[in-house]
Amino acid sequence: MHPPRKSNRSIAITTICLISLEIAIGLGFPQPFRAQACQQSPDAKMFNVASDPDFKNYQQVVTRFAKKHRPKAENNFCIIGSSTDNVKNAWVLWREGSQIILWEGGSDLDLSRRIIHLKSDVVPTEGDLHGSTYLVTKSWVDDLSRSCSRLGVKVHTRKVKGSHKQ
C-alpha cells in the first residue's frame, strides 16, 4: 500500500476547452497542426523527416518493421514529422496495419510508446475521451491523414521474397 501523500491539492478550476475544428490543410513546412486541440495546447509544427538527422533513416526503419510484422504482403506507410516545444517526433501511418505509430527516433519502431490502433483507439468526439492518455478522435485521425497525404513521405514495401514459404 502506498503511503498517503500530503494533500497539497488546489481547488480544481474547470475550464471548458473550446474545441478547435481547424483543419490542417494547405500547409507548407513548417506549419502548425491544430488537429482538434484545445485553444491553449501547443501547436505541433510539421517537418520533413527526410531532411532531419534523427529521422532521415525512415525508409530503413519502416522497411525493417514491415518485414518483421507483415512480410508476406505489400505495405504502405506515410510518415510525417511533428515538433512541439523543440521536441521532435514523427507519426507513422501504416495503412495495412490500421495503426498510427509514434516514432521518436531510433531504429526500432517496436519500441514506440504510443501505437494507436485505428480499430479500437478512435472515438467519435472529444466528449468520448474522458481524460484518456491514448484514445484519439476521428477528426484528429482524419486531419493527420490529410496532412500526411499532402506533406509526408511515403514508403511502399514489397512482399519479402520467399516469405510464402514461412
Binding site: 497539497n8 491539492r9 478550476i13 521536441v87 510508446r113 492518455t133
Partner: protein, 162 residues
C-alpha cells in the same frame, strides 16, 4: 542489479506505467532531467486522479483502479496483466541497464532508477498548475477531452489540468 518493485504493489504498477509512458533513453533528445520532470508530473496526475476517481472512470480511490480505468492508460486495463509489447520493451530496458558491457547501461539504469524512486516517494511534487493536474497526452495528439486545459509540454508529453 536493477529490479522493479513487485507487480502486485502500487509502486510496481506505477513504475511500469512510468517506464511505458515516458520518453526514455531509446529515443532522440533524451536527457534524465526532462525525463524525471515528466515522470514526476505523471506521478502527480495519477495521485490527483486517486483523489477524484469517478471523474476518470476509476471504480475506486486506489492507484490500481486509476491505472486500470477503462480507456485511460494503453495496455494497462487488465493490470497486473499488461500488454506484451510493453512487457518486452520494459524488459529490454532492464536488460540493457543490467549489462555492464552495454555502453547505454548507465543511462538506462538512471532512467529506471528515477522511475522507481518517483513511484516509491511518499509525496508527489507540489501542484504546479493553476488547477489540478489530471491528464497527459503525447504532444501533438490532441486534448484529453472536454474540460481540460493545457498546462505545459515536457519532453514530448503534454500535461493538462482541470
Amino acid at each position: 542489479m536493477i529490479t522493479l518493485p513487485p507487480k502486485s504493489t502500487d509502486e510496481g504498477a506505477e513504475t511500469r506505467l512510468l517506464l511505458a509512458e515516458c520518453r526514455g533513453p531509446s529515443f532522440s533528445g533524451y536527457n534524465l532531467a526532462d525525463a524525471t520532470n515528466c515522470m514526476q508530473l505523471m506521478d502527480l496526475v495519477l495521485w490527483n486522479r486517486v483523489d477524484d476517481p469517478k471523474k476518470f472512470l476509476a471504480k475506486a480511490p486506489t492507484l490500481v483502479a486509476v491505472i486500470t480505468a477503462k480507456g485511460q492508460f494503453k495496455g494497462f486495463g487488465q493490470y497486473p496483466h499488461y500488454d506484451n509489447a510493453i512487457v518486452n520493451n520494459i524488459q529490454q530496458m532492464i536488460d540493457i541497464a543490467n549489462n555492464p558491457k552495454d555502453s547505454r547501461a548507465t543511462q538506462f539504469a538512471s532512467f529506471i532508477s528515477a522511475a522507481i524512486k518517483i513511484a516509491k516517494a511518499p509525496q508527489t511534487i507540489p501542484e504546479p498548475s493553476p488547477g489540478t493536474l489530471t491528464a497527459w497526452r503525447t504532444a501533438g495528439s490532441g486534448s484529453p477531452g472536454l474540460g481540460f486545459t493545457f498546462f505545459q509540454t515536457v519532453f514530448g508529453t503534454a500535461f493538462y489540468y482541470t
